[in-house]
């Protein structure tokens, strides 16, 4: 994979490889590797992953082994570690069952949003959130089931490794044990994640302060469906085949409106090209196992997944102080929200145009494609980094803190 190595940031390649291993190694190994990745200990992340694969006697296909060898080389670890990986091109990844529970079973999304609201608020480009229980054990050293899975979709300005780590930490702090799978829009989604998404419960992000631009609402606009529809693995493949046209159409719109993709085209895109051109048996096998969300490489799949018709409700407001304590209670958040609403109302009475109850773009259903319609905190004396998408790459707030020297609009 020399070409992809040149074009894709190493942490993202490791993140993608961890996604490919999800459901095959135990959830704690994944979580630990993601933590090491997020804290910039890539060599330890790759070592942990490799040793877990060897110890668990988990087979990989030759392409996966080669990619792992590249990663080991890239982090300057010992190449000998990869030699003991079991290679089997015919081995099928384990099938898993997912559920949202029945009757009085606890909901998979119970307490999740409250636990991670602050993280969602401060990390960039988190677009959708879904939760589901996995009913089957994963890996050789499986933990108990059901295992809660939290699936997060981020846009091109998002940071998948950081998002995965921060969300998992926030959940852990709240006493919620979960696997956090962060998928970047426009990338391939494995059968494992497709199966999970197909039955998962979508969590609305609108109630999170400062999240007026989430991508939910329009069916097909996101990787994450609104309505869980249990289906078999094979039916998933057909569903995506028929839906590719819609994706392509939206992508054309997005390409014209968005230019802030942070990451370079990824392995996923490259292998999609290979699938079209290649005719070797291995390429065929791989393409059957991992499907692209889009039929072609998508260099900058940005705002198309953020299309969201917004209900007629007051826009979610960001906190007055973005560096506030991340552990605000829900009651404190509610008080904060009421305070912002009151401020907005007073400004409106003073003649200053207040934020409309329905954000611009509502009628077209495409308001999120252009974030200029968002509530602007600067109108209320607050920070301005939640503003327009233009220049977002340069103006990205770090943990909700604006770039040094930036001035409110």
């Amino acid at each position: 994979m020399p070409e992809s190595s040149d074009r894709v940031a190493l942490p993202i390649r490791v993140h993608d490889f961890l996604l490919a291993c999800a459901g095959r190694i135990d959830d704690d190994a994944l979580t630990d590797a993601r933590e090491l990745l997020a804290v910039a200990e890539l060599d330890r992340a790759v070592d942990l992953l490799t040793a877990s694969l060897v110890a668990g006697r988990i087979p990989m296909n030759a392409d996966e082994r080669d990619e792992l060898r590249d990663l080991v080389h890239a982090v300057r670890s010992s190449p000998a570690l990869v030699d003991r990986i079991i290679v089997n091109d015919n081995a099928m990844p384990p099938r898993h069952r997912f559920t949202t529970g029945v009757m009085d079973d606890p909901a998979p999304d119970g307490g999740v949003l409250e636990a991670i609201a602050r993280v969602i608020e401060v990390l960039p480009d988190i677009r959708a959130l879904s939760c589901v229980w996995r009913a089957t054990p994963a890996g050789a050293v499986a933990g108990p089931v059901p295992q809660r899975m939290v699936l997060v979709e981020v846009g091109p300005d998002g940071f998948p490794p950081s998002t995965s780590y921060r969300v998992e930490q926030a959940l852990r702090r709240a006493g919620i044990r979960a696997s956090v799978e962060v998928i970047q829009a426009g990338t391939e989604v494995s059968d494992y994640h497709q199966d999970a998404l197909a039955v998962s419960r979508r969590v609305s992000l609108r109630q999170v302060t400062g999240r007026g631009h989430e991508a939910d609402g329009e069916p097909g606009s996101s990787l994450f469906a609104d309505s869980p529809t249990p289906r078999s693995v094979t039916s998933t493949r057909r569903r995506y085949a028929t839906g590719s046209g819609a994706h392509a159409e939206k992508r054309a719109v997005a390409d014209a409106t968005n230019n802030t993709g942070r990451w370079q085209p990824r392995i996923a895109s490259e292998s999609s090209s290979a699938d079209k051109e290649g005719d070797s048996p291995r390429e065929h096998t791989d393409s059957a196992r991992v499907r692209p969300i889009h039929p072609e490489p998508v260099p900058e799949p940005a705002a198309q997944v953020a299309v969201a018709p917004v209900e007629s409700e007051p826009p979610a407001l960001p906190p007055a102080d973005p560096s506030a304590d991340a552990d605000l209670s829900s009651r404190e958040r509610e008080l904060l929200r009421q305070l912002h609403e009151e401020l907005a109302k007073r400004e409106g009475e003073d003649g200053t145009p207040a934020e409309p109850s329905s954000p611009p773009g509502h009628s077209s259903g495409h308001w999120s494609a252009n974030r200029s319609g968002h509530f602007s905190p600067s109108e209320f004396g607050g920070p301005s980094w939640h503003g327009t998408v233009e220049g977002a790459a340069d103006q990205t707030a770090v943990n909700g803190i604006p770039p040094y020297g930036s001035t409110p609009n």
Partner: protein, 217 residues
């Protein structure tokens, strides 16, 4: 994997209880039980260095026997600092978990499970358990209290450790603390304190009053 190397590695990992995190330790022990000594030989020295964990002189000998033959980087091993004595354990132990009565208020499921697995098993002596808590808690009350299993055995120590860890994980202990003590093992302060505050859960086929350390106290 040579038997001597496996045995030395098991004892090394045993002696690191309370010095490396539970999360690292159970995984290393699982790798050993799974025959992944080459991988462990690469990762363990790095972990000791990154965590600034020192070793006693005896433990360097164990490192040499356990890891050198599997390709451990001798330059890295040379950077591990030497300890001349171990500090007091960072944990205290008690036979009963008085702060978390809810965990076993409806019955000790783990004891039932272990009895089903280990009662009368060849090579296994005493199976004991103790509750461990940090001397200086940093998290919510009770969240840092863990149950530590202490099993005396005459053979297959690494495999038995791996098996019991997997059982514990399956019933919800994400970072299991399983200490399989070989016959003749001279316990460090961590294990001495744990044994002193443990309760007997069941007994295997081996004579618990023979050479095994659990009964030699």
């Amino acid at each position: 994997m040579g038997e001597a190397a496996e045995s030395a590695c098991h004892e090394l990992l045993l002696r690191l209880a309370g010095r490396l995190s539970d999360r690292q330790l159970w995984r290393f022990r699982d790798w050993l039980a799974s025959g992944a000594l080459p991988e462990l030989s690469h990762v363990l020295p790095l972990t000791l260095l990154r965590e600034r964990t020192g070793l006693l002189e005896d433990e360097f000998r164990l490192v040499d026997v356990a890891l050198r033959g599997s390709g451990a980087d001798m330059a890295l091993l040379s950077s591990i600092r030497e300890l001349y004595e171990l500090p007091e354990p960072d944990h205290t132990f008690s036979a009963h978990d008085s702060d978390n009565v809810g965990r076993n208020s409806l019955g000790d499921q783990l004891a039932v499970l272990l009895a089903a697995l280990l009662r009368g098993r060849p090579g296994v002596g005493e199976v004991r358990a103790t509750w461990r808590r940090p001397r200086q808690p940093s998290g919510p009350a009770g969240s840092e209290v863990h149950r530590v299993l202490l099993v005396t055995a005459t053979a297959n120590h690494a495999a038995l450790t791996g098996e019991l860890q997997r059982v514990q994980r399956a019933v919800g202990e994400s970072d299991p603390c399983v200490e399989v003590l070989p016959a003749g093992y001279a316990p460090l302060p961590y294990h001495r304190a744990a044994l002193a505050a443990s309760e007997l859960l069941c007994v295997g086929a081996e004579d618990p009053y023979g050479q095994l350390v659990g009964s030699a106290r």
